[in-house]
Symmetry: C2
Subunit: 403 residues, 2 copies
């Protein structure tokens, strides 16, 4: 039994940090556990490479972009393997391709098709720490591909799934917080969170772990741990795992905020569906992601429709509707923010929505669109009320230590 540890770019930005990471890995290895390390490009390397690419005048070549980006991780893994060897730990670096990551040929956002672990297993069997380049693979023709930004998490989880090991993701934050501690000092770091909660939080903008890697962890039941790099105390970070009954789940586990949220409204549309279907034909053509869609039949027999999207996309859509002579008026609310409450406990704790609405009402905060799933409630409020609403709700649901 071993562990896959993933270290992000900010954890390996300098040689000193890289050596400190190597020392942590060495400790685990010396304690008798097998370790596979997944590493990202050092610090700002990826941004630097993108800048160089832009200057060539041919940065839209996705195949070459992938070949270029892949050098970032390759640099980290060879240096990290050297640092480990310098500490007397047998170690070997493997690029995505060498580690057997076969992807499709969708450059810059390739999907993993297979992991051929013969080489990896051979090195593990020989007692080596294997240091794998995150975020990359090769397609069937041998071209270098990348999984897209944040893809190193996916690399780590996929390897853990394949090996049947646990996966530890080390970053520059302590763990998953119930609410962004910069907005709400005293926010609690969660001891554990379920895959589903984490996916809601990630998709709704919490931004610590890529949704795709959590999905993968859920699918293959990989126990994930997220913690601060170089912090050995595992009681400080967050475990992401299946819901179990040994743990009392809070009704709301976390709150995530999305500051820039535009809402478009249509009223007086006919109830026959023609308006909605012609509108969403345009939306889909523009490849715009919308959420919080709600539709109501009004007493006069007409339809009221509203949905949210990014402000830039809203402008794009308004222009496209005007050009194509879309016959209904779209009203834009561009100053809204979105608050999402997430928690598997919602299923068993009733009245969460009611408590949330009541809290906002008692404090004079007006709210607009509402959307719910089994484990989440999202509400839009005026942007200027967003922070205060978040603080009030986190007090109501006891997410802040100071509350």
């Amino acid at each position: 039994m071993g562990v896959v540890q993933k270290y992000g770019g900010s954890s390996v930005a300098t040689i000193e940090q890289l050596r400190a990471v190597a020392e942590c890995v060495a400790q685990v290895k010396r304690a008798g556990q097998d370790v596979v390390v997944v590493a990202s490009a050092m610090g700002k390397t990826t941004n630097r490479l993108i800048e160089l690419a832009k200057q060539t005048g041919g940065a839209d070549s996705v195949r070459e972009m992938d070949a270029l980006m892949a050098t970032g991780e390759q640099t980290t893994i060879s240096l990290l393997a050297m640092a480990l060897q310098g500490m007397g730990i047998p170690a070997v670096s493997l690029t995505g391709g060498q580690c057997g990551f076969v992807t499709n040929d969708n450059h810059t956002r390739a999907k993993i098709m297979d992991i051929r672990t013969d080489t990896l297993q051979k090195h593990i069997g020989e007692g080596k720490v294997v240091v794998v380049a995150g975020f990359q693979g090769t397609d069937a023709a041998g071209n270098i591909t990348t999984l897209g930004r944040g893809g190193s998490d996916t690399t780590a989880v996929a390897l853990a799934a394949k090996l049947g090991w646990d996966c530890e993701i080390y970053t520059d934050v302590e763990g998953i917080f119930s609410i962004d501690p910069r907005r709400c000092p005293g926010a609690k770091a969660l001891r554990r969170i379920t895959y589903d909660e984490m996916m809601e939080m990630a998709a709704l903008g919490a931004g610590v772990l890529e949704t795709r890697s959590v999905e993968l962890a859920k699918k293959y039941r990989v126990r994930l741990y997220l913690g601060r790099s170089l912090e050995n105390d595992k009681t400080k970070g967050t475990y992401i795992m299946e819901k179990d009954n040994t743990f009392e789940y809070m009704p709301v586990t976390g709150i995530s905020l999305s500051e820039r949220c535009a809402v478009l409204n249509i009223t007086n549309a006919p109830a026959d569906g023609s308006c909605v279907s012609s509108l969403f034909a345009i939306v889909s053509k523009l490849d715009i992601n919308v959420d919080l869609i709600s539709q109501q039949l009004l007493s006069d027999g007409s339809i009221a429709l509203s949905f949210s999207c990014k402000p830039d996309d809203a402008q794009l859509l308004l222009r496209a509707c005007a050009e194509r002579g879309f016959p209904y008026e779209l009203r834009l609310q561009s100053t809204l923010g979105k608050i999402s409450l997430v928690g598997v406990g919602m299923i068993t704790h009733s009245g969460i929505a009611n408590r949330a609405f009541d809290t906002l009402y008692r404090n004079g905060i007006r709210y607009y669109q509402i959307s719910t799933s089994e484990i989440s409630i999202s509400i839009t409020v005026e942007g200027e009320n967003l922070e205060r609403a978040a603080r009030l709700l986190s007090e109501e649901f006891e997410l802040c230590q100071g509350a």
Copy 2:
């Protein structure tokens, strides 16, 4: 028919230079010729990577060093392919491994065992400029290897040999000079030089092209051209080719100098060979390269032996001889320099050695060891006389334009 062009690190040190190189390549391609470009790491990248490696404390891991170094060329080739695409030229980058360079597993100085050109040929067939990472390959197990410094020349020549194309090596010098122009202003750039002359010049310290790449060019009859990067006028650089009869060869084509040359002398050794064989057993154990070996039978029946090597190696050898109780005295001359005259014309022009000795004698320059091959004469002189001797000899053999 196409051409393999190789661009060294100083020709691609910045994105501006890289775009200028791409423009040159684009011109050749637009004129209807197929092009394979071999590129080195940008500017000082290799030195920077070596410095990082040293800081890890594990830089003696040759496998990881190779994986690290290989990122240098991979960066250049993807950026160069982008620049070409930005100019509307179809282009694709290939790492050493992707281009089919299979090497042995002698990391940091691997030898090419095979080049599997399927992928290369496919891209050429599709009309693309293929940009290949110089200096690298993979071993049979898929580990990244490098051919050692200067190995990009070898990559280019090996590809030209395999494709049956000409090979153009672009550097920051105008061509091959008869003598280092920094020492002898007015030195002539050669229009052509034979493989054998070039090898003598390279091995004797001229340092423009790696001997190994010239050897390979000679073996596969690859016509080499060496010129300044971005200089289109091919009458300015030097062709390196087989000797032919359409050209009047000068008696001496070039003079190369070696400043730091130590000479060791033994006198009064027995003529039975015991002294020489026990001495050279030590030399070989220490892996020391010696040249200018000469041995003479003196009138008293004893042997006088002398040979030259690097000053550091001389010290190493003196210590080893003392430790092992080598019974003959080794006298060291450590202040010598070596001058080598090279030219295929020597075979047909007699009296070259005589003219050289006479020139030195007339000018009061004492000389010591002498060694000759079919196309070269090497002479040691006091280091302080080296420059003057070189100037006098280049005047004597008309190698300077001002002479």
